[in-house]
Every structure is written in C-alpha cells, then in structure tokens.
C-alpha cells in the first residue's frame, strides 16, 4: 500500500456517523485504489452499510470527510452521484415493471439517452445474461435474477465506482458463485473500482484484492486476504499421538514451526508450510518410536483472522440476516 503510486478512487478520512447516542461508524479511514475490488468484512451491525451509505450520499456524515474521485461526498452530492453506481442490500426494483423498463428508468434519470442508452442497456443485459428475460415483469424473476438485474442497473450510466452492499445475501451457493463471476468480469472488463460489504468470508476471500475488517464501527485491520491470513503465522496442523508432551518437545527442537501447543492428547502446530511440515513431523515421531494416530492440516481463513482479532466469530447466532436487514432498513428509514 505504501509503495502505491496510482490513483485512489475513494478516500475516507476519519469518517463517523452517529444515530442518537449510538456510534455506528467510528472514525474510519481508508483508501481504495482505482480499479480494485475492495471489501468491508464484518458481522451484521458492524457499520458496513452505514459506511457505504455515507460514501454514496444516502445518509449524512456526522464528522470526518470522504471523496470519490476527488469529489466531496458531503458537499458535492450530485457530482458524486453521477460517479457512482450502487446495489443496495435490500431490493430496490419496481416489481410491476419489466427488467427493461427498470433499466430504462435508471438510464433516463442518469441522462443516458438515445443510441447510447440502447447500447448501454444491451451491454449490461448481456453481461448478466438476462437478455431473454428483459421483457418479463420483475415480479416473475428469481432472487438471483433480481440481484443480477440490480447489478446491471448499477453500472448502466458508466460509473467510476460501484458499491455493492452484501451482493449475495440470501442467495444459494450456486447463484452466489455466478454473481461473483459477474462482479469479477465487470471489474476486469471495465476497470471499474468496486467496493463491497459482506459478512461472508468466502466472498471477501474470493473477490477482494484488499479487505478491511470492521467491527463495532472501527476498521481493525486492512490488507490483502493473503497477508491477513499469513499474519496468523501460517497453516495449523493438529497431531494426535500417545505421547503428546514428548513429541511436542521434539518438534520444537526441529525449529521449522512458528508455535507448538499441547492440547490434551493432541498437538497444535502453526507453521509456514503445512504440507511440507507433516512428513517432517511423522519422521521425527517414527525416529523416537512415538505413534501418530492422525494428522489434520488446516489453512487459516479470514474467519480465523477475525477470531484472532476480535475473539468472536463473524456469523453470530441470534438475528437472522433478514431480521437484521429489516431492522437496518427501518432504522435508516426513520431519518
């Protein structure tokens, strides 16, 4: 990040938003590079949607500032609105209209006209593969198709930055993967900067070039998914053995590990390269005459990163996605 010399699409500077006494976003600062897919990863209620809502001028900023391609989101709203496309967490289509009519409405509001409009609509429909459904009423669409239509709509007016708020929430795994494909294709083909929020680990890992982990309205770590995972020290190997204490001692002496911990009758080893370490460990055990019952290898996920940073899991029990969604919606609707 430090050696980056290109342009930044989004710059957030100590951005904060309070609702009454509750601070939803607390002095958040980050920079999004032009052309990258940047992710905000965190549990429900962490402040992801609020952050995106501020950046996309839907709600006001309590303090701090942010710019999109140099335009101030607080002071130059119309300029910012022209630069961005947004796909909201909750659906925002007119179900009574056809897909085509929804796209046409959007194009008109953004001043895309005539042949330019026709071409743009054809292009976006092709990208999300909805050409043959375009003249059907949206209420006949499946959830995945609606999402695709919304993504298509989000970049009809050729925005410079596309915001995706929980783009695959409530979708089945197959549809989710398809949406990911579209997002990646869009990013590659048009060099569009994309900022998304998600509480799905795999989504952040698969799509994002950089991820900011957010919790309780603060960004607690920001890096590439690879480096975030590496920050845990590497892969985790678990070894079951009849003499865990003695084996742990011998592994430590081998000096190819980051840490070795005894956990009851098993050992937990953290090491840079798990698949190479396992034969070494088995070799050590055999030489010492210790029996190895089993070994498991686990590569750390962003979930493990989140747990090590916050001490809890991203997916909390209790509120379901839709409950949370409704609550957020009402909450925002009030002001």
């Amino acid at each position: 990040m430090e050696d980056f010399t290109g342009k930044y699409s989004i710059i957030a500077n100590a951005l904060s938003r309070r609702f009454g006494n509750f601070t939803a976003v607390d002095k958040v600062s980050f920079k999004v590079k032009e052309g990258e897919i940047f992710g905000l990863l965190g549990p429900n209620g962490a402040g992801k949607t609020t952050t995106i809502s501020m950046l996309s001028t839907i709600i006001g900023i309590t303090s701090g500032s942010a710019t999109i391609n140099g335009k101030d989101v607080g002071k130059e709203k119309d300029a910012v609105r022209k630069l961005i496309g947004i796909v909201f967490q909750d659906p925002s289509l007119d179900d009574e209209l056809t897909g085509m009519e929804n796209l046409d409405f959007h194009a008109r509001l953004y001043g895309v006209k005539g042949k330019e409009k026709k071409d743009a609509i054809a292009k976006v429909l092709k990208l999300v593969e909805l050409e043959d459904k375009a003249n059907k009423q949206v209420k006949t669409y499946s959830g995945g198709m609606k999402r695709r239509l919304e993504i298509a709509r989000g970049f009809i007016h050729n925005p410079k930055v596309l915001f995706l708020d929980e783009p695959t929430i409530g979708l089945d795994p197959q549809t989710r993967r398809k949406i990911w494909d579209y997002v990646q294709k869009l990013n590659k083909e048009t060099k569009l900067t994309i900022m998304l929020t998600t509480h799905y680990i795999e989504e952040a890992d698969e799509l994002c070039s950089r991820v900011a982990i957010i919790d309780h309205g603060r960004i607690i770590k920001l890096d590439t998914p690879e480096r975030l995972k590496d920050s845990l020290g590497g892969d985790i190997i678990r070894i079951g053995s009849d003499a865990p204490g003695r084996l742990a001692e011998l592994i430590r002496k081998g000096k190819f590990t980051v840490s070795v911990k005894e956990r009851g009758d098993s050992i937990e080893v953290t090491t840079k390269n798990g698949s190479e370490a396992i034969p070494k460990i088995i070799g050590i055990a055999q030489k010492a005459g210790i029996e190895v019952a089993y070994t498991t290898l686990k590569r750390p996920t962003l979930e493990d990163v989140f747990i090590s940073l916050t001490g809890k899991e991203i997916r909390e029990e209790g509120a379901s996605d839709t409950d949370q969604l409704k609550r957020n919606f009402r909450f925002r609707g009030r002001r």
């Binding site: 996309s56 001028t57 839907i58 709600i59 006001g60 119309d78 300029a79 609105r81 022209k82 947004i86 909201f88 909750d90 659906p91 925002s92 289509l93 007119d94 179900d95 009574e96 209209l97 009519e101 409405f105 959007h106 008109r108 509001l109 953004y110 001043g111 009423q137 925002r332 609707g333 009030r334 002001r335």
Partner: protein, 256 residues
Amino acid sequence: MANFLETIYTVWLRETIRFLKSKSRIVGSGGQPFIWLAIAGVGFSSAFVLSGGVSYLTFMAPGIIGMTLLFSSIFSGVNVIWDRQFGFLKEMLIAPVSRVGIVLGKIAGSATVSLITAVVILVVEVIFNILPFSDLSVIGLMEAVAFMLLIPCAFVSIGLIIASTVDNVEGFQVIINFLVMPLFFLSGALFPLTNAPEWMKFVSAIDPLRYGVDGMRGALIGVSAYPVYMDLLVVLASAVVLVLIADFAFNRIEGK
C-alpha cells in the same frame, strides 16, 4: 432544465406504465363512480327536488367527476409508501436529479391517471344523457378539463404530504379515510350547500374540492354558485400551495 423536464417525464412515465399494467386499478377507479351514480344518484333523485329545473342526476354528474378525481388522486400517495417499502424510493433519491423533479413527476403521473378516468366518466355521462349534450360547449369542456388537471394536483399533493410523514400503509389509509369523507361531502358534490347551516358553509369554504365541483358544474351544466373563473383561480391557488408543501415534505425524507 432539459434534465429537469426529463426527470419529470421519467417519473411520470413510470406511474403511467404502472397504472396501465394494473387492470384491477383501471376497473376499480373506473367502476366506482358508476356505482355511485346508479345507487346514490337514482336513490337520492326520488328524494331531492332541486329548484331551477335541473334533474338531480344531472346536478350530481359533475360532482361524481369531482369525487373520482379526489379519490384516485389522494390515495395515490400510497405509492410513495410502497416505493419506500420495496426500496424503489432509494433508487430515485440516489439519482443525480432534483427532488422537485421527482415530486412533480409523481404528481403529474397520478394527475394524468385521474384525468383519464375523469374524462372516461364524462364521456359515459354524456352518452347516458345524464349530462345533456345541449348544455355542453367547447369552452365549457376546456374549463372542465382544466379543473380535471388542477384538482388532482391539489389532492395528489395532500397524499404525498401524508405519505412523507407516515411510513406505513395502514397509518396512511387511516389518515386519508379520515380526510376523504369530509372533503367529499362538504364539496357539494351530492347536495347543494346553498341552504346548508352556516357552520357547514364555513368549513366547506376551505375545501378545494368545493370550488372544483362548483366550477365543473358551471362549465358543464351552466349552474354554479360562483363564477367559473373564480373557482378556477381558487383551485389553481390551492394546487400551487399544496404542490409546494408536498415538495417541502418530500425533501425531508431521509434528510438532504
């Protein structure tokens, strides 16, 4: 400016497309006035005898047009609440366009729908000779159409004002039902207010529909309490004021 007009047109277009797609709305808004004419009109005409030689049904015909304009326009504010619940309102609020344009587009859309319904009813009333063809004139018809455009502008605005402050459909309907009945009965659509008690005359004086109905009566059957141009001015003024308030109320949604 071109952009501003495009916004109004875009929002208007959507409202119109939605109406044309909804067969139940078309049948409902077109059918209701005839039920009123058939039941209330025929029923009351045996009880009322009007001075001046106008039959009761004829007297009531412009009032039913007024009623149609009132009902279809004031309830259309509910669209804003549906838009909010279905998220579509956000799609509009986030667009780089002026909100005045959105409000005017909404008003224009609902007003168009009301106007079309009213014209259909006018034509049917003429066909059934409830409105005598001999009383009609080109100028009178043009005046009537002017009322049919302005009355909905006033009442769509009232609907929008309520919809901007109430965020659920049930609440909206309760308030609108509470408003609609007095607006309707005090408008003189069903009975003449000339012999009504003073308090009722006083309250009905602030009902914009009263001037709308009176004006249309003057324009279509040549009987009215005030000169038609005066009615037109009052309706125009109330429409302008209400549109401005609606714009203000709509702008407050989600802050600016």
